[in-house]
C-alpha cells in the first residue's frame, strides 16, 4: 500500500497539529484547573486557547484563499496506512472558522448560562475535547485519522449531551446519540477501509486522484453505502434523525454548538469532502437527493407541531440539514456553492436561535410555547435578536437565509435528468419552505406575542448584558451577509465550494435581486403559504391543544435497545448464575473437552521408549499416595483428618522429587508442606470443623465424571510424554552454569541468574498474595474460640525458643551453599518460616510477632527492593537488568570475592519468602487473638 503522502505543498509544518492540540491538550487540562479560580477564569482560559487556535487558522487563511492547500504529514502507523496528515484547504478553512468562531461565542454564552451548581471545569474541558475532535475531522488529510476524530466527536458529544448526568432524560439522549452516530461511524470506517484498499492509500490527496478507479470498482456501491450511513446518522437524516431531538436534553450551549456549527455538520462536511471522490454517479445523486428531500420536508412539517422551543429548533435543524444534503447530492457546481453557503448561514442563525431559546428558558424557567407568550414586553432586546434570526431561518429577504434558500429553490428546478424526482422536487421544496416559514412564525408569534405568559413562576426580564453579546454578533453576521454577500463571505465561499465540487467553478452571482424569477416566486409562495398555514393552525385547529403522535423511531430504538440489553442479560444469566461451583465445573469441562478434542484430532499413542522397572519402595509410595488421595476425598468432610491426608500425598510428592534427582524440589516441597499444613490448621480453627451433609447425587455423579475425565487425560498425557525421547534446551544451562553463572547447582543458577527476571516476578507475586491476605484479614475480628486461653505447652515453648537460633543457622547454611549445592533463597526462607511456625505453635501468634519485632510486610518490601536493586545495579555497568556478575573484584581493598552478585538477589528472595510466610501466618492466626492468649493452632 502506498503510504507516502502526496503533498502539493509542505510548509508551516507545525501549525495544523497545533491548532488541534491547543484545545485537545491545553484546553482539556487547563479548564478544570482554571475552574478552581472561578468560572470567569475558566471561561477566559478556554476562550484564550480557542482564540489562539483561531489566530493560527486565520494566519493561514490568505494562502488558502489564494488557492494553496496546506498539507503536512508525519508517519504514525505506516504499516496500516495511518499517518498524522493534516490538510487545510478551502472547505477545511471554512469549517475551522465556524467551529472556532462559534465556539468562542458559545464559551462566552455558557459562562452566563451554567448555574453555580454545574461543574464549569468539566463543561469547558468536554467542550474543548469536542472542539478538538471537530477540528480534527475537518483538518484530517488521512481518512483513518479522520475516523479517529469522528469517533472522538461521538464520544465527547455523548459526554456533553449527558452533562447533567443526574437526569435520566439526558442519559437516555446521550446513549441514543452515541449508539446512532457511533454505529454510523463504524459503517463509515468500513467504507473508508474499502476506499483505501481500492485507492491504495488513505491519504485524501491520493484518494481524490483515484476517483475514476473507485467509481469503476465493483465495490463502489458498497463503499458509498457505508460512507453514506456514517453521513446520514451523523447529520440526523431520515430515518436516523430521531437521536437529534432526544439530544436536546443537553445544556443549551451544547445544543447551540452541536446542532449549528459542529456535530451534525460533521456529516455534511464529510459528504462535501467525499463528493469529489464518490459523487457524480447516478446512485449517489438519487440516494442523497431523495434522502435530503424527504428529511427536509418531513422534519419541517414536524417542527411546526413541537411545543418545546428546543424541539422546534431541533426539527428545524434536521430539516435544514436535509436541505444541505439535497444540494450536495446534485451534480452541479452551483449546488455546491449553495450548499456551502447554507452551511455558513444555518450555523449563524441556528446558533443564535438556540442561544435565544436558552435565554428564554433561563429567564422564564420553561421552554414550552403553550405557556410562553408576550415576552416582547419583558425582553424586547432579546426578542428583536430572535426575530431577526428567525426571519433568516424562514428565508425572508435581506437576511442571509434568503440568499441560500433561493439558490436552493433554483437548484431544485434543475433536476431534469432524474425523472420523477425532478418533477416532485420543485413542489416538495416549496412545501418545505412553507413549513419552515410556519414554524419560524410560530417561534416568533407564540413566544413574543400571543397574549400573556401563562403560569410562569417568575417575572421574565432581560438576561445579563454579556449573555446577549454572542447572539448580537451572530445576528449582525446574518444581516451583513444577507445584505452584502459579495463583501463578506464571497471569497471564502468560492474556495470552499471549489473544494467541494473538485473543479473550478463557473462564474456565478450571489445577489438579493435577480429579477422576477421562478425561485423568487417560490419564496413568495413559501412566505405567504407559511403565514396562512400558521394562522389557520393557531386559530382554526387550536395548535396548542395538539398532541403530536409520538414518532415511532425513538420508541423502536428503545425497544431494540432494551431488547438487546435483555438478551445479553439472559445470555449472561444462562452461564453466570452466581454459583462459583458451576463456573468451576464449566471451566474444568471446557478444559477437558479441549484436551479431548486434541486427543481425537491427532490420535493417542504411547511412545516407544521402554519404561524402567518399578522399584519395590516406589510401589509402596505409590500405594500410600493413592490411598491418601482417595481417603482425602472420602473423608473431606472431616476436615482435620483431610488436612493430614493431604499432607501425606505431599510427602509422597516430596519423596518422588527426591528419588528422581530433584533435591531442591524435595527440600522445597518438604518445607512448604510443613508451613501449609500449619496454615490450614490455623484456618480450620476459624472455619467449621466438619463439612455439612452430602452433595446432591446428581452433582456427585457429574463431578466424579469430570474428575475421572481430567485424571485420565493427565495420566494419558504423562504416559505419552514419559515414553518418548527427551529433547531440551536445558543442556545449554548445564554447560553455562559455572562459566556463566558461577555456580554448580544449575537449578539455583537458573532461578537467580538465567531466569532471574521470572524469579523477580514470582517473589513479587508471593508478596502480593501476602498483602492480599493482610487486606483480607484487615478489620475481621472473630470471637475467641471455645477453650481459648488455655495455657500453652511450657515444654514446647522452651523447646521452640531453643530451636529458633539453630533453625536460623541451618537456613543461613542452606542459603549460602545454595548456589553450588541444593539449597538457596527459597528453601532457606521456608526453613526459617518453619522455625517461625513452631514459635507460633508454642507461644501464639501475637507473642511471636512481638518477639520478632519486625513486620513481615517490611521484610517483603526489603526483599523485593534488594532483588530489584541488585538487578538495577547491572545498569551501572552498562549491562541489561539482572545481568549477574561473579568473580569480579568488586571491592578493591578486600580483593576478589568468590561471590556472585546473584547471591544478593537470592537474599532478596529469602527475605520475601520469610516476610510473606510471616505475614500470612500471623494475620490469619491473629484474627481470633484479640483476647490474651488466643491463636491456638
Amino acid at each position: 500500500m502506498d503510504t507516502a503522502p502526496q503533498a502539493p505543498q509542505k510548509n508551516n509544518a507545525m501549525t495544523l497539529p497545533i491548532i488541534i492540540l491547543l484545545p485537545l491538550l491545553a484546553g482539556t487540562l487547563l479548564a478544570p484547573l482554571a475552574a478552581r479560580f472561578g468560572r470567569n477564569s475558566a471561561a477566559w482560559t478556554v476562550a484564550a486557547i480557542t482564540a489562539a487556535s483561531l489566530g493560527l487558522v486565520l494566519s493561514e487563511a490568505s494562502g488558502v484563499i489564494a488557492g494553496q492547500a496546506l498539507i503536512t504529514s508525519w508517519e504514525w502507523l505506516p504499516a496500516i496506512g495511518l499517518n498524522l496528515s493534516f490538510r487545510l484547504d478551502g472547505l477545511g478553512l471554512m469549517f475551522a472558522l465556524l467551529i472556532l468562531g462559534i465556539g468562542l461565542l458559545i464559551i462566552l454564552y455558557a459562562r452566563y448560562y451554567l448555574s453555580p451548581e454545574d461543574s464549569v471545569g468539566k463543561f469547558y474541558a468536554l467542550l474543548m475535547l469536542f472542539m478538538a475532535a471537530m477540528l480534527g475531522i475537518v483538518l484530517s488529510e488521512n481518512l483513518l485519522l479522520l475516523v479517529i476524530f469522528w469517533e472522538l466527536t461521538s464520544i465527547s458529544s455523548f459526554l456533553l449531551i449527558g452533562y447533567w448526568s443526574h437526569s435520566a432524560e439526558a442519559r437516555r439522549g446521550a446513549r441514543m446519540a452515541l449508539a446512532v452516530t457511533g454505529g454510523g461511524g463504524l459503517a463509515m470506517f468500513a467504507g473508508f477501509l474499502l476506499i483505501g484498499s481500492i485507492a491504495g492509500s488513505f491519504e485524501l490527496s491520493a484518494v481524490l486522484a483515484a476517483r475514476d478507479t473507485i467509481h469503476d470498482h465493483p465495490l463502489y456501491v458498497l463503499a458509498l453505502g457505508l460512507v453514506l450511513l456514517g453521513v446520514f446518522t451523523k447529520s440526523a437524516q431520515f430515518p436516523f434523525h430521531f437521536w437529534l431531538p432526544e439530544a436536546m436534553a443537553a445544556p443549551t450551549p451544547v445544543s447551540a454548538y452541536l446542532h449549528s456549527a459542529t456535530m451534525v455538520k460533521a456529516g455534511v462536511f464529510l459528504l462535501a469532502r467525499m463528493y469529489p471522490v464518490l459523487g457524480g454517479s447516478i446512485e449517489f445523486e438519487v440516494v442523497v437527493t431523495s434522502v435530503g428531500l424527504i428529511t427536509m420536508v418531513f422534519a419541517a412539517y414536524t417542527a411546526v407541531f413541537k411545543h418545546d422551543l428546543k424541539g422546534l429548533l431541533a426539527y428545524s435543524t434536521i430539516s435544514h440539514l436535509g436541505l444541505i444534503t439535497f444540494l450536495l447530492g446534485l451534480d452541479s457546481p452551483l449546488s455546491a456553492v449553495a450548499a456551502v453557503f447554507h452551511i455558513i448561514n444555518h450555523a449563524t442563525f441556528k446558533a443564535s436561535l438556540f442561544m435565544a431559546a436558552g435565554i428564554i428558558d433561563h429567564e422564564c424557567g420553561t421552554r414550552d410555547m403553550r405557556r410562553l407568550a408576550g415576552l416582547w414586553k419583558y425582553m424586547p432586546h432579546t426578542a428583536t435578536l430572535a426575530m431577526v434570526a428567525a426571519a433568516a431561518m424562514a428565508g425572508v429577504p435581506l437576511f442571509n437565509g434568503f440568499l441560500s434558500k433561493e439558490m436552493f429553490f433554483a437548484e431544485a428546478l434543475e433536476l431534469h435528468d432524474l425523472g420523477l424526482l425532478g418533477q416532485i422536487a420543485p413542489v416538495a421544496v416549496t412545501l418545505g419552505g412553507v413549513f419552515s416559514v410556519a414554524y419560524s412564525l410560530r417561534f416568533i408569534h407564540d413566544v413574543f406575542f400571543n397574549g400573556e405568559p401563562r403560569g410562569l413562576d417568575r417575572k421574565p426580564h432581560e438576561p445579563p448584558r454579556y449573555m446577549k453579546v454572542p447572539v448580537e454578533i451572530l445576528v449582525v453576521i446574518c444581516v451583513a451577509v444577507g445584505m452584502l454577500p459579495g463583501l463578506t463571505v464571497a471569497p471564502l465561499l468560492a474556495v470552499a465550494a471549489r473544494d467541494v465540487f473538485g473543479a473550478e467553478l463557473p462564474a456565478y452571482d450571489i445577489a438579493i435581486w435577480h429579477g422576477l424569477t421562478m425561485p423568487l416566486l417560490m419564496s413568495v409562495i413559501a412566505i405567504v403559504g407559511g403565514s396562512v398555514m400558521y394562522w389557520l393552525l393557531q386559530h382554526q385547529y387550536r395548535l396548542h391543544m395538539s398532541t403530536p403522535a409520538r414518532w415511532t423511531a425513538p420508541r423502536l430504538f428503545h425497544r431494540g435497545y432494551d431488547g438487546a440489553v435483555r438478551l445479553a442479560g439472559q445470555f449472561t444469566g444462562l452461564l453466570i448464575n452466581g454459583s462459583l461451583q458451576r463456573y468451576l465445573a464449566l471451566l474444568v469441562a471446557t478444559v477437558a473437552l479441549l484436551g479431548l478434542s486434541a486427543f481425537l484430532q491427532h490420535g493417542y499413542s504411547a511412545g516407544d521408549l521402554a519404561p524402567t522397572a518399578p522399584e519395590p519402595l516406589a510401589v509402596v509410595v505409590w500405594l500410600v499416595a493413592l490411598a491418601a488421595a482417595f481417603a482425602t476425598v472420602a473423608l473431606h468432610r472431616r476436615r482435620f483428618a483431610a488436612v493430614v491426608l493431604v499432607g501425606v500425598v505431599g510427602l509422597a510428592a516430596c519423596l518422588t522429587f527426591a528419588y528422581f534427582s530433584a533435591p531442591d524440589l524435595a527440600l522445597t516441597q518438604l518445607s512448604v508442606e510443613v508451613v501449609t499444613t500449619a496454615l490450614m490448621l490455623v484456618a480450620l480453627s476459624l472455619l467449621p470443623q466438619e463439612g455439612p451433609a452430602k452433595s446432591l447425587p446428581t452433582h456427585q455423579t457429574r463431578d466424579a465424571l469430570l474428575a475421572i475425565g481430567a485424571g485420565a487425560g493427565v495420566a494419558g498425557l504423562t504416559w505419552a510424554v514419559l515414553t518418548r525421547p527427551h529433547e531440551s534446551i536445558s543442556w545449554y544451562f548445564l554447560g553455562e552454569s559455572i562459566p556463566g553463572g558461577g555456580g554448580s547447582n544449575v537449578v539455583n543458577v537458573i532461578l537467580v541468574d538465567f531466569r532471574g527476571f521470572d524469579t523477580f516476578g514470582e517473589i513479587i507475586v508471593l508478596g502480593i498474595a501476602a498483602v492480599g491476605v493482610l487486606l483480607l484479614m484487615d478489620g475481621l475480628r472473630l470471637p475467641p474460640a471455645a477453650g481459648a486461653g488455655r495455657g500453652n505447652s511450657l515444654l514446647l515453648s522452651v523447646a521452640a525458643r531453643a530451636l529458633l537460633p539453630f533453625a536460623l543457622l541451618v537456613s543461613v547454611f542452606i542459603f549460602l551453599r545454595g548456589h553450588n549445592l541444593p539449597g538457596g533463597g527459597f528453601i532457606a526462607g521456608l526453613v526459617t518460616a518453619v522455625a517461625l511456625v513452631i514459635q507460633c505453635m508454642a507461644d501464639g501468634m501475637d507473642a511471636t510477632r512481638r518477639r520478632i519485632g519486625i513486620g513481615g510486610a517490611g521484610l517483603i518490601g526489603a526483599g523485593i527492593l534488594i532483588a530489584g536493586l541488585t538487578g538495577a545495579a547491572s545498569w551501572l555497568f552498562g549491562a541489561p537488568f539482572l545481568t549477574s556478575a561473579h568473580g569480579y573484584p568488586e571491592l578493591p581493598l578486600i580483593g576478589k570475592l568468590p561471590l556472585a552478585s546473584a547471591v544478593a538477589f537470592d537474599l532478596g528472595v529469602y527475605l520475601t519468602v520469610v516476610g510473606a510466610t510471616l505475614v500470612i501466618l500471623t494475620r490469619i492466626g491473629g484474627v481470633r487473638s484479640t483476647t490474651a492468649a488466643g491463636g491456638q493452632v
Partner: protein, 116 residues
C-alpha cells in the same frame, strides 16, 4: 516406574478436581492442594524422570537430569503456597462476613436436606 508415576498423577488429579468442585471452601482448598501436587509433578516430568542424576555440576559426572522444569516447579511450589494462603484467607474472611463457608457466599437455597 513411568506407569506408577503417570497413574498416580491421574489419580491425584482426579481427586483434586473432585474436591475442587465441592461446595465448601475448605474442600476447594484441599482440592487445590492435590491439584497443585499433580500439576507440579506433571511439569517436572516434562524433563523425564531419571534417578540418581541431580543437576548439580560435578567433576567426572556426565549424566544430569533436566534442570529447567525443576527451576520452574520450584517457584511454582512457592507460588502454590501463596495461592493456598490467599484462598484460605478468602475462605476465612468470607465465612466471617457471611456466616457460611459455601463458595457462593451463602447457604444454597432450596430444601434443607439439599445442601449440595
Amino acid at each position: 516406574m513411568e506407569f506408577l508415576f503417570a497413574s498416580a498423577l491421574g489419580v491425584v488429579t482426579a481427586c483434586g478436581v473432585y474436591l475442587l468442585l465441592r461446595g465448601r471452601t475448605f474442600s476447594v482448598v484441599l482440592g487445590l492442594s492435590l491439584l497443585s501436587y499433580a500439576v507440579n509433578l506433571f511439569i517436572f516430568s516434562m524433563g523425564r524422570v531419571t534417578a540418581g542424576a541431580p543437576p548439580v555440576v560435578a567433576e567426572g559426572v556426565a549424566a544430569y537430569t533436566d534442570p529447567l522444569p525443576q527451576a520452574l516447579v520450584l517457584t511454582a511450589i512457592v507460588i502454590g503456597f501463596g495461592m493456598t494462603a490467599f484462598f484460605l484467607g478468602l475462605a476465612v474472611r468470607a465465612h466471617g462476613e457471611s456466616g457460611s463457608d459455601h463458595v457462593d457466599g451463602s447457604e444454597p437455597a432450596g430444601p434443607p436436606e439439599d445442601p449440595r
